[in-house]
């Protein structure tokens, strides 16, 4: 009996029981559906074992959307609880669990896979490559992320969710104050997906350094690839810090070590420092690729080259360096001396300078351009003023003396959502709309898209701007309720309405996908937006080998110049193309990782050891394996190309130009 009690949820509520039933029903539904439609084989061959960067990108994209809804449900519950004073919807414990899981899911299991999706979908195409440097490692990265996310997500139905905030500060996160297994889930789930992220970082750095098309020097790389490059360098240097911090946190909780305890010499501030040495750069891992997407979109829909290409690149490099030098601004009030605070205050504010440079570059790009107000462009235009406001309040928070006033209030919550939603979420949705036709072969409906944009923007302003006021008025963050007398009621009600509008907007996205799938015309050609970089130079749908012949690049807008100035992109003969074989190992190995993670959470040592041995066996097998991939022969490539009807004359080109 005692054994089973470990898996019971410490604070059950009707909502959790309902979710359990829902999870069980959905799982059964999926299994039955797959069996009924005889799709198991298809699923295995085409998806679970794939090493194709495009398919992996799509799987990242779907997971991110799924997690957006999980994190969004948490957000709505929080806003509903806070909408009125003294509300009884959630109790304190449940609220703690929800803000914790909301934060973790949104940052690590929604925003991260979203940008990884774009790395996978776009970077190889944009540099004219056939795949990433290590396709199989890429699949492993995805599956590790995925099982990490799943491990985290089952916490609320098995054993209880983490409740110490997404920052998981010790000693609160230690065994004395976080008694359920929740924080174990936090440590292990993030560890597993973090290993995947690190490998993505290594993979993409290698890809971008070594696999660019002939002629594409660093300073001719498209802006999104640049941003991905820098973000991946940050990944390589930031994630190991998190790995170590999580190992230590796990050791404290499971093995009674004393890293972060308040006795036996432990030091809780060490966690705070390590967490933010990773955590602050993490924010730039998310925002730089978002900037990259905006750059692509703004230059396409302004019909102009990006203004100040070099300044853009250098400002990103500067931001990435500074991002490692500001971490203590997250705990100005936790008792480090005035000198330390001043230094970090200055480095923090310095980041505003290169960021400002970028904002002006986008504005100048639009300045003389002929703007087309498509959905992706609306997001990009909306982003600029909203993000600027978020940046300004960031500078306010960066003043350490003043921070004593707003620290841990809703002002902070308003600030970071104000940067991360217009900055990252808008960029993701803009990118989703922009790249959808390339990957799925049809456009998303523009009317619904624009409606979504307005719902989201208005919802966002209503949801978060009132928090600046209530925060300055003293409403603390992470408080599950407040009394009528505080007067916070009306502002919070407004926030709730905003959050509800945002929820509607997210539903509208799903509806848009469904609607467009049913109604949008196919045969849209390979370049429906009249775009500028190489990913639009290949066919739609993209053949598995991406490019029959690798492009020859001579400018940073290679495809545009090919269309406008008649540069020849594809020269020479079609040759045999080497491709990697599919493999089931990444998937299987990740499942074993899941078992290991789960066993560690509950301190079930026997299965944990068996699973770890399983992981090593997989690695050993990989070491002995001889897998040279296969070749698509030139003849076959030519036949495929002929099916697209344009082996020699790129008919799309004329169609695209004539439409403008």
């Amino acid at each position: 009996m005692e054994f089973f009690q470990r898996f019971a949820i410490p604070h059950p509520s009707p909502a959790i029981y309902a979710s359990m039933v829902a999870i069980a029903l959905v799982s059964i539904g999926i299994v039955v559906g797959l069996t009924y439609f005889k799709k198991w084989g298809y699923l295995w061959r085409e998806w679970l074992t794939t090493v194709d960067h495009k398919k992996i990108g799509i799987m990242y994209l779907l997971s991110a959307l799924l997690m957006l809804f999980r994190g969004g449900a948490d957000a709505i519950m929080m806003r509903a609880q806070l909408a009125t004073p003294d509300a009884k919807l959630l109790d304190a414990q449940h609220y703690n669990e929800i803000f914790t899981t909301h934060g973790v899911v949104m940052i690590l299991f929604m925003a991260m896979p979203f940008i990884f999706a774009f790395f996978n979908l776009i970077v190889p195409l944009q540099i004219g490559a056939r795949d990433v440097a290590f396709p199989r490692l890429n699949a492993l990265s995805f599956w590790l992320f995925f099982v990490g996310a799943m491990l985290f997500n089952i916490s609320f139905v098995i054993g209880g969710s983490p409740d110490a905030g997404w920052t998981s500060y010790f000693p609160l996160a230690g065994n004395d104050f976080s008694t359920s297994v929740g924080t174990n889930y936090y440590m292990l789930a993030i560890q597993i997906s973090g290993i995947g992220s690190l490998m993505t970082g290594i993979n993409f750095c290698t890809t971008i350094i070594k696999m660019r098309a002939p002629g594409m020097t660093l300073m001719k790389m498209p802006m999104f690839t640049w941003s991905a490059f820098i973000a991946n360098i940050i990944v390589v240097f930031a994630f190991p810090v998190l790995t170590v911090a999580l190992i230590m946190g796990t050791a404290d909780r499971l093995f009674g070590a004393n890293f972060f305890t308040t006795s036996n010499g432990g030091m809780d501030m060490l966690w705070a420092n390590f967490f933010w040495v990773w955590g602050h750069p993490e924010v730039y891992i998310l925002i730089l690729p978002a900037f990259g997407l905006y750059s692509e979109i703004i230059s396409t829909f302004s019909g102009r080259n990006l203004f100040g290409y070099r300044a853009m690149v250098w400002s990103m490099i500067l931001i990435s360096l500074l991002s490692f030098l500001v971490w203590t601004h997250h705990f100005f009030t936790m008792g480090q001396g005035a000198l330390t605070n001043s230094i970090f205050s200055i480095t923090t504010m310095a980041i505003a300078v290169p960021t400002g440079v970028k904002i002006f570059n986008w504005l100048f790009t639009m300045w003389k351009g002929k703007i087309r107000f498509t959905t992706p462009m609306l997001y990009s235009i909306g982003f600029i003023p909203l993000f600027t406001i978020g940046g300004a309040t960031g500078v306010m928070l960066g003043m350490s003396a003043a921070d004593y006033q707003y620290h841990n209030t809703m002002f902070l919550v308003a600030h970071f959502h104000n940067t991360i939603i217009p900055g990252v979420v808008f960029a993701m949705l803009a990118g989703l709309t922009y790249y959808w036709p390339k990957f799925f072969g049809f456009m998303l409906n523009e009317k619904i898209g624009k409606l979504t944009f307005w719902l989201l923007t208005i919802g966002f302003v209503l949801a978060f701007f009132p928090m600046y006021l209530s925060g300055l008025d003293g409403q603390a963050r992470r408080m599950y309720t407040y009394s009528e007398a505080t007067g916070f009621g009306p502002l919070n009600m407004l926030s709730f309405v905003g959050a509800a509008l945002m929820a509607l907007a997210f539903l509208a996205i799903v509806y848009n996908i469904y609607y467009s799938y049913k109604n949008s015309p196919r045969n849209i050609g390979s370049d429906p937006w009249d775009a500028r970089s190489l990913e639009w130079a290949t066919h739609t749908p993209i053949p598995e080998y991406n490019f029959a012949r690798l492009p020859q690049v001579s400018s940073s807008q290679a495809f545009w110049d090919a269309k406008k100035k008649g540069h020849e992109l594809f020269k020479g003969e079609i040759k045999d193309i080497h491709m990697p074989n599919n493999s089931g190992v990444p998937f299987v190995m990740s499942c074993i990782f899941f078992v290991a993670g789960f066993s560690f959470v509950f301190a079930l040592w026997v299965p944990a050891v068996i699973a770890l041995i399983g992981v090593f066996v997989c690695m050993a097998l990989r070491s002995f394996e001889q897998d040279h991939g296969y070749h698509i022969h030139a003849k076959e490539v030519k036949e495929t190309e002929a099916k697209y009807g344009k082996v020699l004359n790129n008919e799309d080109r004329s169609r695209a130009t004539s439409r403008v």
Binding site: A133, V236, A257, G265, M267, F624
Partner: protein, 198 residues
């Protein structure tokens, strides 16, 4: 697979070059990993609670043996790679074998050392200092252990398949890994042991 004969075997295909670059980047991440561990150790090394201090438990003899074993193994693996470049398979396998034996010797002494700590009342749970010490040493030791397996697999493959672009590539990458562990050990030796004994 296109093989470029102007290059040494381990660099001779495109994929080989990618592998080596990728591994260097991985080593960059490893440097961050150990740097973080060292930071933790330096922050916590004076925080001994009611447990022993570094000076009370460190002993020079086993550490010198470990250092000697590991430094020598770095040298022998260098000889192994040299032999590989000359195409002398048997010499290479021998040197790799010696390398792994030295690694095993290192590991044996380290385990003995951990047991001594344990008997002296310095366990993982004793204090922040002991936890940081054993995590740092343990991470390095776990890397060595993994290396022993990995190296063994590579020796088997070289014996079975000969020196091909693939096996040469694997052996070369393994040697980078092994040298890296040696460099980390030099830091451990100087900044943990020597400093702690002073």
């Amino acid at each position: 697979m296109k093989i470029d004969h102007a290059q040494p075997l381990e660099y001779s295909t495109d994929q080989n070059q990618l592998n080596i670059l990728g591994f260097w980047i991985f080593l960059g991440a490893e440097i961050m990993l150990f740097a973080t561990l060292f930071t933790a150790y330096f922050t916590l090394s004076h925080r001994t609670g009611s447990g022993p201090t570094p000076a009370e438990i460190f002993e020079i003899t086993p550490v010198l043996i470990e250092t000697f074993a590991l430094l020598t193994s770095s040298f022998t693996i260098g000889l192994g790679i040299h032999a590989m470049r000359l195409g002398r398979k048997n010499a290479m396998v021998t040197f790799f074998g010696i390398t792994l034996l030295l690694g095993l010797c290192f590991l044996g002494v380290e385990i003995f050392e951990f047991m001594t700590y344990y008997h002296e009342g310095a366990t993982y749970q004793t204090s922040a200092f002991t936890a940081a010490l054993m995590t740092t040493l343990g991470t390095h030791g776990a890397h060595v252990t993994l290396g022993l397996f990995w190296g063994t697999f590579i020796i088997i493959q070289v014996i079975k398949r000969g020196l091909t672009p693939q096996t040469a590539n694997k052996a070369f990458i393994f040697s980078l890994y092994w040298h890296f562990l040696d460099v980390v050990w030099i830091f451990i030796f100087s900044f943990i042991y020597l400093k702690g004994m002073m």
